[in-house]
């Protein structure tokens, strides 16, 4: 077991920056911990809000488009020389167009209300977190984290089951991921149409984030045309859909265009890889990333983020020993494997745990030392002495001594 001294890294950090005061006043109360942990819930509130914004924007666009069409329809009719019947027909169609618009917007408004309700339900849920109902609230949080993981991994059935059995549908984003499912399923079936539709739907925001996802989709379609040896169609396709991206992504475009010269069974490694089915998997991954970014979600599943943080905070060299207590998650093989590449935790002050009671040995329950150097808590030793006529038996070495032979140790 290596001695974990203040390594060079830690020392240089201490000298280069001002003393890190993050732990100057460790939050000892449960309430303080809870308040801090609520601040981690940005995704929880942001996702339904993005969904809400999206519906609002879509409705605005529909209104502008249809209303402009109606107005210009009227202007047309006024300028043209229509017969009475034509005029009546024309105006009637405009009226029904307006009625259609009205219905669409009513439906849109209904959906927006539901989404607003969901946003508010989540705000209420955060507000309801209290020290009294903490175990339940934490349990719900664990379930939310698990559902998030399963949705991202596309384990939709399990996600639905878990959310349904605990009535937390409002607190998780199953419907948002359903939208993603359509695109992902299609991509896995080597179809780009739903993905392209999604890009069109979110055009302005994708442009703002300088996304090249649409370009990658188009490239793949081009490759498929080349694979099918439809060179002429491929070139027409490229002219229409790839050239707009040429200026900003010249190298990639050139590389893919070059595949025209090769066939799909080319052995040339540089171009062979472009024909591999794994390119579709890349597209799925790329889509997942764009999707998460758009909705304000973290790129990694919440489970991974919290698990890494937890494992690192719990990791000590003692966890990997054979007699590590089973209550420590790091006594399990699975967790040990996951924690291998993570940094160890650090302590600035001694934290001692009684071997017998597993409780903390602090000023209220100070450690006491047997003649053989083994240490146990005062509580455990007092109880043992009471039941055994003042005699103490060390559970690890079997040494017997008197309670009066023990010495208190002062450890800060």
């Amino acid at each position: 077991m290596d001695s974990l001294s203040n390594g060079a890294a830690a020392a240089t950090i201490a000298t280069r920056t001002t003393p890190i005061t993050t732990t100057a006043s460790p939050p000892s109360s449960k309430l303080a911990h809870l308040t801090e942990s609520l601040k981690l819930e940005h995704q929880f509130l942001r996702v339904p809000f993005e969904h809400y914004k999206k519906s609002i924007r879509a409705d605005h666009r529909v209104f502008e488009k249809e209303m402009s069409a109606v107005i210009s329809g009227v202007t047309e009719a006024a300028d043209a020389d229509l017969s009475k019947d034509d005029a009546v027909h024309h105006l009637s169609s405009l009226v029904s167009k307006l009625q259609g618009l009205k219905r669409k917007l009513e439906e849109g408004s209904r959906i927006e209300n539901l989404q607003a309700q969901r946003c508010r339900a989540r705000l209420d849920h955060l507000e309801s977190a209290d020290v009294e109902n903490l175990p339940d609230w934490n349990n719900t949080r664990l379930k939310r984290i698990l559902v998030d993981y399963m949705l991202r991994m596309s384990y939709y059935d399990t996600a639905a089951k878990l959310a349904g059995s605990n009535n937390i549908q409002d607190l998780v984003d199953i419907d948002v991921f359903q939208e993603a499912k359509k695109v992902i399923d299609a991509l896995q079936n080597k179809e780009v149409a739903p993905a392209l539709a999604w890009c069109a739907d979110n055009k302005s925001r994708l442009k703002k984030s300088k996304s090249k996802f649409e370009f990658q989709l188009r490239l793949q379609e081009f490759i498929e045309l080349v694979r099918a040896e439809n060179s002429m169609r491929a070139i027409t396709y490229a002219r229409k859909y790839l050239s707009p991206w040429g200026a900003t992504h010249t190298k990639e475009l050139q590389r893919v265009m070059a595949t025209l010269a090769f066939k799909s069974n080319t052995e040339c490694a540089r171009y062979k890889v472009l024909f591999e089915p794994i390119q579709w998997d890349f597209l799925v991954d790329q889509f997942k990333q764009e999707f998460c970014r758009l909705y304000g979600m973290t790129l990694e599943p919440l489970l991974n983020i919290y698990l890494q943080a937890g494992l690192s905070a719990l990791k000590t060299p003692y966890c990997y020993e054979d007699d590590c207590t089973k209550e420590d998650p790091l006594s399990q093989d699975n967790f040990r494997k996951l924690a291998l590449p993570l940094p160890y935790s650090k302590q600035h002050h001694s934290k001692l745990v009684c071997y017998i009671t597993k409780e903390l040995m602090d000023t209220e329950n100070p450690p006491q030392v047997l003649p053989n150097g083994y240490v146990y808590s005062t509580k455990a030793l007092e109880e043992m002495a009471k039941k055994n006529n003042g005699k103490i038996t060390c559970p690890r070495t079997g040494l017997v001594c008197n309670y009066l032979d023990l010495v208190k140790a002062y450890i800060s």
Partner: protein, 385 residues
């Protein structure tokens, strides 16, 4: 907390959205009415309406619509709505940490291991269909052994809740040796409860038979308990009056589920609580500190990914303290096999290396850093936590 401010801001957003919605409906109605009026005029005009009239009706309509200016009418409410939308978003970004993945390390997080951990978590919690479901959807092999172990446990617990101790007793006797090795008294306890139950509900004769068959083997190790139980025969049918509240108290039944779970898991070499739950709770408590740390170390991404030990402590609740960690108050080094903690006669504890330094490699006496005591050479002894 600031949640009230956030809620108010959202309510404002919602209000603006409703305003915008109703305005657009209003405008649509206005435009619709004008067009319908024009339509009526054209339809109701005496035939033959000269095209010129029709034209003027239409031209008037265009003017009317221009006056209504529907697109412009919506501009105001929409602008206000957008303003409030971005206000709310900024508020969220201010009060909540917008990117909690900053502390994430790009290390290999094996998917298969995570899925297996999830499955065993579900099995431990008794959610067997969820465990099966995730292994199925993830394409992982079935965890039949683990599942059957927890299935057994939950069956025993279900029965115990209904005061049926048969499955529990069967399990206890099958695993008698191992339980005895671990110093567990669960089998005796189960028989105790069963005995008292028989005593309360049945005849004294039944109870005596029960005692002879099942309690007698425990006599040698647990004389006191055995004697108390036999005395309870005197209060058959009204156990509550027996002067042994510690044996007859109903809390034993209440705590039985928890005790059985603990014993069962401990026998399996498993933790009482779900390890996933513990690890994630630790993560939730520790992540804020890690995120602050990352932001302080901002430019040093390389160092963050490569560090072997966190540079600051992450304070967790005491339920997460599983190991004794000794930190020498002088050198701030953590205790280890090579550098163990040493107790000095003044009852203060330093690590071996600090003592070696102060005593000049064990050649000179020194003063304890924490009290006036003089420590002569060799007057220290190793501690074992």
């Amino acid at each position: 907390m600031e949640l009230t401010t956030i809620k108010d801001t959202f309510d404002r957003v919602n209000k603006k959205q409703k305003l915008s919605s109703s305005k657009s409906q209003e405008v649509i109605d206005q435009v619709g009415r004008e067009i319908e009026q024009a339509l009526e005029k054209i339809q109701s005009a005496d035939d033959p309406t000269s095209p010129f009239d029709q034209k003027s009706i239409l031209t008037d309509l265009v003017l009317e619509l221009n006056a209504i200016d529907p697109l412009h009418q919506l501009e105001g409410p929409q602008k206000e709505l957008n303003l409030n939308l971005s206000k709310y978003q900024k508020l969220l970004e201010r009060f909540f940490n917008p990117d909690i993945s900053k502390a994430y390390r790009n290390v290999d997080f094996d998917l298969h291991i995570v899925n297996q951990i999830l499955a065993s978590h579900f099995y431990q919690e008794g959610l067997f269909d969820l465990g099966d479901s995730i292994l199925n959807e993830a394409g992982e092999p079935e965890a039949t052994v683990l599942k059957s172990q927890f299935l057994d446990m939950h069956q025993i617990l279900e029965a115990a809740r209904l005061r049926n101790l048969e499955p529990a007793l069967k399990w206890a006797s099958t695993n008698r040796e191992k339980l005895k090795q671990n110093g567990s008294k669960i089998e005796l306890k189960l028989h105790q409860l069963q005995f008292l139950d028989v005593l309360q509900k049945g005849t004294r004769a039944d109870a005596v038979t029960y005692a002879r068959t099942y309690l007698a083997p425990f006599y040698s190790l647990h004389k006191k308990e055995f004697q108390k139980l036999m005395c309870c025969l005197l209060w058959a049918g009204r156990i509550g009056s027996a002067p042994y509240p510690e044996i007859t108290s109903p809390t034993h039944w209440e705590n039985l589920t928890e005790e059985l779970t603990r014993e069962f898991c401990s026998l399996l070499g498993h933790s009482y609580g779900s390890p996933l739950g513990v690890a994630i709770s630790a993560g939730i408590e520790g992540l804020p500190t890690l995120l602050k740390l990352v932001s302080v170390m901002s430019a040093k991404k390389q160092e963050w990914q490569a560090m072997k030990q966190l540079p600051v402590p992450v304070e967790l609740g005491k339920e997460f303290q599983f190991h004794s960690i000794f930190v020498c108050p002088v050198s701030r080094d953590q205790g280890s096999e090579e550098n163990p903690p040493m107790l000095m006669p003044c009852s203060h504890v330093l690590c071996k290396q600090s003592i070696m330094k102060l005593s000049k490699s064990g050649t000179r006496s020194f003063k304890c850093p924490y009290c006036p005591a003089e420590i002569s050479v060799g007057q220290w002894r190793q501690l074992y936590f």
